[in-house]
């Protein structure tokens, strides 16, 4: 059974048709590379799964059960985690505080309940270790590299044991070495049986880490096939419209 199925998803913002009739499915442990030109509707699709937007029409099901998300928290409860394009981290807080933001463990001292920083630090250190990232729990996010920030954002999603992780341009604006780090993080997620939807403009990233590739053009799905059966040239053609569909 597919982990996640979209059927006939459309979304319009007033007169703008951001997505039209997109149907797509993804298996457990699959990495799906989602590509498309600026404004093709990739982020919109991701935000629909994450519960930020509701589709104008169409249906989403997870593990065969139809779901409707009103808020991001609904999607999180169903095991959908989103790593946002802008990462959505609080720069002024530590890595551990960001990992646990909104879910801080508490300890009791008589009637007083206070944040269990020790546990937050231990658990985050453990998550960073699993991700093989050199991120220290107490370090301030402001002082981190792009790759470390990604690790914080991903560790944050791991905390809720997700089934599906969506990453919107995780490799934009970071150095080459850090890109390799992030791609490794994605492989670690896949190895745990998590389905990953990777949105990127970078062809080499998609081809090195994805199992399947999907291309959106002006809100329509024009291709969905195994990476092995495609090529960067074909995908470029699909994105620009030089090739109609594949």
């Amino acid at each position: 059974m597919s982990r996640l199925v979209f059927s006939g998803i459309s979304k319009n913002f007033g007169a703008i048709q951001a997505l039209s009739d997109v149907s797509l499915s993804i298996e457990p442990g699959e990495v799906l590379g989602l590509m498309g030109d600026n404004g093709a509707g990739k982020s919109t699709l991701a935000k629909i799964i994450a519960g930020n937007f509701r589709p104008s029409t169409g249906e989403i099901s997870i593990d065969g059960i139809s779901v409707v998300f009103h808020k991001p928290i609904d999607a999180q409860r169903e095991g959908v985690a989103m790593v946002y394009q802008d990462l959505a981290l609080a720069d002024n807080l530590s890595a551990a505080s960001n990992v646990f933001l909104g879910r801080e463990p508490l300890r009791r001292f008589g009637p007083i309940r206070y944040i269990d920083y020790k546990r937050m630090n231990t658990v985050s250190a453990d998550l960073f270790k699993q991700l093989k990232s050199e991120t220290r729990p107490r370090q301030l996010v402001r002082r981190m590299s792009g790759g470390q920030r990604q690790a914080v954002a991903i560790a944050r999603t791991l905390l809720s044991e997700p089934k599906i992780v969506m990453m919107d341009e995780p490799t934009a604006a970071i150095s080459v070495r850090q890109v390799a780090e992030v791609l490794d993080l994605i492989r670690r997620l896949r190895d745990r049986g998590i389905s990953v939807i990777l949105i990127s403009h970078r062809m080499p990233d998609i081809f090195s880490v994805s199992d399947n590739i999907a291309v959106l053009r002006r809100g329509r799905l024009v291709c969905r096939k195994p990476v092995g059966a495609s090529s960067p040239e074909e995908v470029t053609g699909l994105i620009t419209g030089a090739i109609d569909a594949a």
């Binding site: 720069d91 002024n92 250190a125």
Partner: protein, 329 residues
């Protein structure tokens, strides 16, 4: 082979950063101490018990509100209405007590009035999405006007049956220390702990750092913002009650322009107007420095017209200090 514990133990990195961050508080404190030392050498009057008592009491009022302001500023907002919440609270308690009501009930009403101002600010800012600057500028005007209506713009100096209790609470002392200073100490200690160790504190700083991230993390940002403005108004209300007792009379110009001194104290103490930073101790030390400057100008016989120049310089130096820190990062 590094173990998990090594990683955690090696993460001492930010403890020196924390120290660096506290440097601003430290330097402001040093500045205040130096000013005190210089003053005690230059004039005998400064170290007189009477003067020290006055300094301690006067700065406590500003510092109490500066702690509330720090919460607002750290969450990325601003509250210009505190001076008016002070006068409204003072007026409510005086009118209520003058009409024969007891102290505690009247104090409750006064705090309630201040909290309503905070609630009003918070709801318009958090739920209607209006800019904090504009909303609180509006309530700055409205709350003072309410205080005038309430008192018919008359001075109140008789506080009914609990008259002496009010004067003792606001103007009295225990073990040689003025009562407002006790209130300040309790508030500063409690809020230092709350900022660091509770979800409320943690989430407040998260909102100031990246409001969008806080929303996505499922933090009830709107409710939290309302509570922050209510907290700020409550500190102003508390100061209003204490000031009524200290002055022994209340007029409608009480607390006029106080918001600027309070904001200055918070900023000098390390609150970042861009949000995400600030601490209770800093607010206290910032308020102390301002009061010491004010006091020294008076004692040295320098025109108090210079006061604004000194406070202005300190605000700018504090912000410059912050810029410098960020550059070295």
């Amino acid at each position: 082979m590094t173990t998990l514990d090594d990683i955690i133990n090696n993460s001492r990195h930010d403890s020196w950063f924390a120290r660096l961050k506290n440097l601003q508080v430290f330097w402001v404190f040093i500045a205040a101490v130096l000013a005190c030392l210089a003053l005690s050498l230059m004039t005998d009057a400064f170290t007189s018990d009477r003067n020290l008592f006055n300094v301690a009491r006067n700065f406590a009022f500003v510092a109490v509100i500066a702690i509330g302001m720090t919460a607002v500023i750290a969450s990325g907002g601003i509250d210009l209405s505190v001076g008016s919440s002070v006068v409204l609270s003072a007026m409510v308690i005086s009118v209520a007590m003058a009409s024969g009501m007891g102290f505690w009930l009247s104090a409750g009403l006064a705090l309630g009035a201040a909290l309503l101002i905070g609630l009003f600010n918070g709801i318009l800012i958090a739920y209607a999405g209006m800019p904090a600057f504009v909303v609180t500028l509006g309530s700055l005007s409205a709350a003072r006007s309410l205080a005038m209506v309430l008192s018919d713009n008359k001075m109140i100096w008789e506080f009914g049956p609990d008259h002496d209790l009010l004067l003792w609470i606001g103007g009295g002392s225990t073990l040689g220390l003025p009562h407002p200073l006790y209130v300040l100490c309790v508030l500063a200690v409690v809020m230092s702990l709350v900022f660091r160790w509770t979800r409320w504190g943690q989430h407040l700083f998260a909102i100031g750092g990246n409001e969008n991230a806080a929303v996505l993390a499922g933090i009830p940002v709107r409710r939290l913002k309302v509570s922050i403005y209510m907290f700020s108004a409550m500190t102003a209300g508390l100061a209003g009650i204490l000031m009524a007792g200290w002055l022994g009379s209340v007029t409608t110009n009480l607390g006029q322009g106080m918001e600027l001194t309070v904001i200055a104290a918070a900023v000098i103490g390390g609150a970042n107007l861009a949000g995400g930073e600030g601490n209770a101790l800093g607010a206290v030390v910032g308020a102390l420095l301002i009061e010491v400057i004010r006091n020294s100008l008076i004692l040295l016989g320098i025109s108090t017209f210079w006061q604004g120049m000194f406070i202005g310089t300190f605000i700018i130096v504090a912000v410059a200090f912050d810029r410098f820190r960020n550059m070295r990062r």
